[in-house]
């Protein structure tokens, strides 16, 4: 068992465990903290796949921006006292059963498609440094790149408008 495989197993265990804890913890703030750990371990997976720039962007965008947004929203709503009523037992049972069934079906699909997966090639060609990514992003994907900026602008305006509207009515 090589060192890389051990690192992969540990990272995967952390990812899956914290994802489960995100769902099962009662306090939303604890969920957010576990989700941050989950995102960091996914960034570790990116580093393992040698996608350094993506790992950094992932840490900045998810662990930085999105989780801060979540934490501020939780604090704004003052949800840290646990007053969530649970779903009825039949719904929870249905959720667990559907989780197992989806896992079973998807894993069965991918196990059966295994013969299609060929050999791993290594050409030694550089395909994931910032230089190559930037060239691909600004040559072939120029138009989607610009549309992404428009999307972010519209989302920003929409978020401000949605949170401000109630104040004007009062």
């Amino acid at each position: 068992m090589s060192l890389v495989l051990i690192i992969f197993s540990v990272l995967s265990a952390i990812t899956l465990a914290t994802a489960f804890l995100t769902i099962f913890s009662k306090n939303p703030i604890h969920s957010a903290i576990y989700l941050v750990i989950c995102f960091f371990s996914i960034a570790g997976h990116y580093l393992l796949l040698n996608a350094q720039f993506l790992a950094i962007v992932h840490v900045i965008v998810y662990s930085g921006a999105i989780m801060i947004l979540f934490l501020f929203t939780i604090m704004l709503m003052n949800l840290n006292e646990q007053r969530e009523v649970h779903r009825p037992r039949i719904t929870r049972l249905g959720a667990i059963v559907s989780f197992c069934l989806i896992c079973l079906v998807l894993i069965a699909i991918f196990i059966n498609s295994k013969p299609i997966v060929g050999e791993y090639t290594t050409t030694g060609e550089d395909y994931q440094s910032i230089k190559v990514l930037g060239k691909v992003l600004l040559n072939e994907y120029m138009v989607p790149f610009e549309f992404a900026s428009i999307l972010l602008l519209v989302a920003m305006i929409g978020a401000v408008l949605l949170s401000k509207k109630e104040k004007l009515e009062k």
Partner: protein, 106 residues
């Protein structure tokens, strides 16, 4: 330069992503708190991103990673608008339990 997938294998990444995605689906079905539902959606998006990067390494192609950038931009926009909607719902109803949001049901 040695390919990392020689040591790990693409199957392990596929299984990890599938289980992570299923955990996300489970969270959406299991919890009532709308914020936790949002977090589960983030987990699902991350599972898909991880698979994109794994296959980008498998095919030695940069386009998978470029797609992950767009997916991150969409996720950031979605979270910003979604949390603004949640704050507005909380101001109106006083709670964000998703079972209370039945006003559209005639």
């Amino acid at each position: 330069m040695n390919n990392i997938l020689n040591h790990i294998g693409i199957e392990n990444y596929i299984f990890l992503s599938v289980i992570l995605f299923c955990i996300g689906v489970f969270g959406v079905l299991y919890r009532r708190n709308a914020i936790i539902v949002f977090m589960s959606i983030e987990i699902m998006l991350n599972a898909v991103n991880l698979l994109f990067v794994a296959f980008s390494t498998y095919h030695q192609d940069a386009e998978g990673q470029v797609f992950v950038f767009f997916s991150m931009a969409v996720a950031a926009a979605e979270v910003a608008v979604g949390l603004a909607i949640l704050v507005s719902i909380f101001r109106n109803l006083g709670s964000i339990t998703i079972d209370n949001l039945k006003n559209l049901k005639g």
